[in-house]
Symmetry: C2
Subunit: 560 residues, 2 copies
C-alpha cells in the first residue's frame, strides 16, 4: 500500500535523470499534498514567488524535459496560474496542473469556505480550467485514483498539453494500492492506421521524385513532439535545404550546411524568401501557422505541393490523413526517401553577417543580434521575450545543440523570466555546464521580475540580458511612440540581484558596441560561474527591422 | 456624435470628484482604446506592473470609491487578472473589467492570432470570465453599444460585483451617438415591494419591543452597499451595543461608546462573546458568513431571533423577504425604532488594553496590534493582508472614520499590496491628508511586490509595514513549522524603494518594542510626507492567539 501522493513518482518514470522539480506555491488546501513531496527521493519543491511565475517556470522546464508538474491551491492559486496554463495549451507544452481543493465533506456541505466565491459552488474553477486544458478532473473515488493520476500524466505527455487534476485535501493522506507504481506508465502512442500510413509514405516519395526545388520547413511542434532527430535524418538523406519558422528556431542545427534560415512570410530576408517561395515541394513539420509566426499569414509559396506532418494527422495538399502522426511515420519516411536518387539542389542563402559598428557606437538592436552569434556556444539554451527580443533573435545564428525558448503564439509578456527559471532548473539536471541565457525588455521584466529570486535561492547561474529601452517599445511601434501608457517606471535594474540577496553575482551595464564587444570577448564572462544581469541601454524606438514591419501589419489588422 | 470610448466618462458620473483612475496594462488589442482615455479630462491611466496587481489595485480603489475600471488585453492579459476579478466577485466589490479583443473581422475569420489558443475559438475567455462576474458581454453592434456600456456600469455598481465587457479593436475608433452621455446613468435600485417592506419594519419593531438584550452586528456588505450611515443611525436611536465581524471591521465608529468589539465565533475574546452570545435579538447587516469571518462557522447565539438585512433580501428567523433590500429600508427602520421606548441595555465590553512590554523586548504580534491603536488617527485607511495581519488587526481599535481593507473571504495572498495602491490613489482623490497604511507579511509581499513601483511612479506616500517572520507563518501554523515549502527566500526588503527609484523615502527596520514605540511617538514619522517601508522583525512562529486557534480548526477541516 502506498499513499496517493506517491503516484507523483510516476513522473520520474518519464525521464532518465533523477532530480525532479515540482513548481508552485503552497496554500492551505495543498499543504498535506506538499508534505509528501519530500518523501519522494529526487523531487524538489521549487517554491516560486507566485503562481503565474510558477506556471511559466513549469512551461520552461517542460520545454526541455517534456513534462512539468505545477501545484497550486484552490481558487486563489489556480486562477493566478491560468494565463500560464493557457499558454502551455496554445504552445503545446506538457504540464500537469495539480490543485489542492477543499475536502469532499466541505464540498458536499457547500460550506462558505475561504478561497471560494462565497456561493457554495465548488465546480467553478475546474470548469474554467477545463476550457484551456486537454482534460480536467477531480479525484473523488480513491479506488480509481491511481488510474486517474496515470491517465492525467499520460494525457499531458502524449498530447503535450496541460491537464488539470484536483485532489481534495482529505484524500492527500489516504493510502491506496501501489501496484501501478511498479510498472511504467504506458506512454506509447496508438499506432498509425497502417494503410493510411503506407499511402502517405508512397505519395510523399512520388512527390519528392517529381520535385526540382524541394525544401524542409520546421515549426513549433517538431520540438514539442520530439521529432527533431527524425527530421534531421530526413534532411541528411535528402540533403534538401532546411528552414525553420520563428517558433521552430533551434529545432535544427543552424551550422548544418543545408540550413537556410528563418522563414516568416513577408518579414523574411529576401534571399531566404526567394528559396522558400520558389520551392515546388515543401515538407512541413509541426506547423503552427499563427500571425507572428508567419509574418501575419503572409506565406507566399509558388507551390501547392505541401506535406504537413502534425502530431495528430498528416495533410498532403488538401487531403487529411487523420491519426497519421508524425512521431510514428517520420523514420519510415526517412528510410523511404533515402532509397531515392539524389537531386541537384539549390544553394542555401548565407546567414546575415555581422553588421559593422565602431566601438563608440551606441548599442543598437541590429548589431546586437548578429554580434550575439559568435558569443553563443554549443548547447546554449536561449530564452527570448515577446517584444524586440523575439524578433531580434531570428537574426542570430544558433550554435549546434542550442535550444530556443520563446512564446510566439501566446505571447504573454513576462513569460520569459519564469521560463528562464524552469529552463535553468532543467539544464542543471541534464547538464550543469550548459548555459541558459535570457533576453528580456525592461517593460516585460517588470511583470514577473520576482522570479529571479528563485534563481538566487537555488544558486542557479543564468545570464539575464535586460534590454532597457525605457518602456513597451513593441507597443510604441504598433500605436505611435507618444502614447504615455507605454511608459514604464524606470527602475535601478542593476540592484535587482542584491535585493534578492544574491551573494556572488555581477550586475553589468552596457551602452556601446565596444563595451559589449569587450564583454563577449572576455573568457571569464563566457563561463557561467555566477548569476549575472547585463543591462543593455538601447534607444527607445530602436527595434529589429522585421518587428517594425510586423507592428505596422498588426496595427492595420486591429483596425480592420 | 462621440466616440465609443467617451462612454468611459460615464464613470465620472458615479462619484463627486474629478480625478479618476483607470487600472490595467497595455496590450496591442486595447491600445486604440487607451489612446482615448487621454482625451477624457480627469481620467488617469495607472499603468500597473502586471494585470493581477492591476486587478487588486482596482479592487482596493473600488472599496473607497464604490466602482473601479480595469483594462486588459485579450487572452494573456485578462486571464492574468482572473484571480483578482474572482476576489471582487466573492467579496462584493464593484468593478468594470474592460478587455480589448481582436477585431470582429479577425474573429469572424477565426484567424490564428497571437494571444489565442491557436484553435480559432474567440469565445473561450469571455466564457471563463462569465463564471466569476455578474455579467459578461462583448460589444458587437455599434448601434446598441452605448446602452450596453451603460448597463455594464450600472450592473457593476448596483450589485457591487465585477462585470466583463469586451471591446473589439476595430470598434475602439468608431463614432456613436453621444446622447446617453448627456444624462446620468440610472443607478437607482428597483423599489422594495411596499407590502413586504412594511411588514418587515413592523415585525422588526415588535421583536425589538420584546427583546431584553438586543445587539447590532455589522458585516462586510454594510460597507460594500454603503449603508454605514443608516446603521449608525439605528445604533444612535436604539443605543444597542454594536459589534462587527472581521470583514465588517471599520464599518462603525469604534470610539462610539456603544461599540463592543469584533465577533468571530469561538475565536472571540470571552467578554465580547458573552454579550453577543447571550443576546436575545440580533439585527445583522450585510452578513457574509464565511469560515474565517465566523471562527469556522462557530457562531453560538442563544437566540433564534435574528434579522438579516442583505443587499438583495431580508431574512427574519427562517422567513425570507425577497427583494427587500437593506439600502432602501434601513432609514425607515431607524425612524420606526426611534419611536419606541428606550430600554435598559447591557454594558459593552472594553477593547483589549495595551499589552505590557519592556523597551528591550523583541517585537511580538500581541503587543504590536494593541500598541498600534494609539498611533492610528482619524480617517486612516488600514490595509491588512491574509495571514497574521488580518487576524492581528482585530486587536487594534480603529479611530473615527477609519476604513479597514482586507480580503477575509477570498484570501488571496499578495492582494493587500495591490489594494494598497488602489486605496492610496482613491485617498489622494478624496482627501490627500488621509494616511494609508499597509500591514503585509514577507511571504505575501513577494507575490505582488512590484506594485510598490506604481506608488513611487505617482509620488504616493503610504506606510508599508513589512512583517518579516521569514516565510509563510500562517501555513506553518496550519501544517507544522518544519515544512520547508513554507520557507521563502530572504530578501533585503530595505532596498525595495531604492530599486524602484524612489527619491525621497525612508526604509526603516525595527526589532524591539522600544524602537517601535519611539517611531510611533515621533511626530515626523506620523506625517505622511514620504513613502516609507518599515520592516518589523518578528519571531518565525509568533502569531496572534486567534490565528493560532483558527489554524488548528482549518487543519482539522481539511482532513475531514
Amino acid at each position: 500500500m502506498a499513499q496517493l501522493h506517491c503516484q507523483l513518482t510516476q513522473l520520474t518514470q518519464l525521464t532518465i535523470l533523477t532530480k525532479r522539480q515540482v513548481f508552485g506555491v503552497p496554500g492551505d488546501f495543498n499543504l498535506a499534498l506538499l508534505d509528501h513531496i519530500y518523501e519522494v527521493e529526487g523531487i524538489r519543491w521549487a517554491g516560486n514567488t507566485n503562481e503565474l511565475n510558477a506556471g511559466y517556470a513549469a512551461d520552461g522546464y517542460s520545454r526541455i524535459k517534456r513534462l512539468a508538474a505545477l501545484v497550486t491551491t484552490f481558487g486563489v492559486g489556480e486562477l493566478s496560474a491560468l494565463a500560464a496554463v493557457a499558454g502551455s495549451y496554445a504552445e503545446h507544452v506538457g504540464l500537469l496542473h495539480v490543485v489542492g481543493v477543499p475536502s469532499m465533506s466541505a464540498q458536499n456541505k457547500h460550506l462558505l469556505l475561504h478561497h471560494t466565491l462565497g456561493n457554495g459552488d465548488f465546480t467553478v474553477f475546474k470548469s474554467m480550467s477545463g476550457r484551456i486544458t486537454e482534460h480536467a478532473s477531480v479525484i473523488t473515488d480513491i479506488t480509481t485514483a491511481a488510474e486517474q493520476i496515470d491517465k492525467a500524466i499520460r494525457t499531458a505527455y502524449i498530447y503535450q498539453r496541460p491537464v488539470y487534476l484536483a485532489i481534495p485535501a482529505n484524500l492527500s493522506d489516504v493510502k491506496l494500492d501501489a501496484d501501478l507504481l511498479r510498472q511504467p506508465i504506458n506512454l506509447e502512442l496508438e499506432p498509425n492506421p497502417p494503410e493510411a500510413e503506407a499511402e502517405v509514405i508512397e505519395v510523399v516519395a512520388e512527390m519528392v521524385l517529381k520535385a526540382d526545388h524541394p525544401i524542409l520547413l520546421i515549426d513549433a511542434c517538431a520540438s514539442r513532439h520530439n521529432v527533431m532527430k527524425e527530421v534531421a535524418e530526413i534532411a541528411r538523406v535528402t540533403q534538401f535545404p532546411v528552414f525553420t519558422t520563428p517558433m521552430g528556431k533551434g529545432s535544427f542545427d543552424e551550422h548544418d550546411p543545408r540550413f537556410g534560415g528563418v522563414y516568416v512570410g513577408s518579414l523574411t530576408l529576401p534571399e531566404v524568401a526567394k528559396v522558400v517561395e520558389h520551392a515546388d515541394l515543401i515538407l512541413s513539420f509541426g506547423a503552427l501557422l499563427s500571425d507572428f509566426n508567419t509574418g501575419s499569414f503572409s506565406y507566399h509559396y509558388d507551390t501547392k505541393n505541401i506535406v504537413e506532418f502534425h502530431s495528430d494527422s498528416t495533410k498532403i495538399r488538401s487531403a487529411t490523413y487523420p491519426e497519421v502522426k508524425m512521431q510514428l511515420i517520420l523514420d519510415k519516411v526517412a528510410k523511404r526517401l533515402s532509397a531515392l536518387p539524389q537531386k541537384k539542389l539549390c544553394e542555401v542563402p548565407p546567414y546575415p553577417p555581422l553588421i559593422k559598428a565602431t566601438p563608440e557606437s551606441p548599442l543598437k538592436q541590429e548589431w546586437l543580434w548578429t554580434r550575439l552569434t559568435s558569443w553563443l556556444r554549443k548547447g546554449d539554451i536561449i530564452v527570448s521575450e515577446t517584444g524586440t527580443s523575439n524578433f531580434g533573435i531570428i537574426q542570430t545564428k544558433f550554435p549546434q545543440g542550442a535550444v530556443g525558448i520563446s512564446q510566439v503564439l501566446w505571447g504573454s509578456i513576462g513569460y520569459s523570466v519564469g521560463a528562464l527559471v524552469g529552463a535553468t532548473m532543467a539544464a542543471s539536471e541534464v547538464d550543469p555546464s550548459r548555459r541558459v541565457i535570457l533576453f528580456v525588455g525592461d517593460g516585460s521584466l517588470q511583470l514577473t521580475v520576482t522570479e529571479i529570486s528563485t534563481l538566487v535561492r537555488w544558486g542557479l547561474k543564468p545570464y539575464i540580458f535586460i534590454l532597457n529601452n525605457d518602456g513597451y517599445t513593441i507597443e510604441r511601434l504598433i500605436r505611435g511612440e507618444k502614447a504615455t501608457y507605454n511608459d514604464v517606471h524606470m527602475w535601478k535594474y542593476s540592484k535587482l540581484l542584491d535585493l534578492f540577496n544574491a551573494k556572488d553575482h555581477d550586475a553589468l551595464q552596457v551602452s556601446t558596441t565596444g563595451e559589449l564587444d569587450d564583454l563577449f570577448n572576455d573568457a571569464k564572462f563566457a563561463s557561467p560561474t555566477k548569476i549575472r544581469t547585463i543591462e543593455l541601454f538601447l534607444p527607445q524606438m530602436d527595434a529589429p527591422t522585421n518587428l517594425i514591419k510586423q507592428a505596422k501589419i498588426t496595427a492595420a489588422t486591429n483596425s480592420e
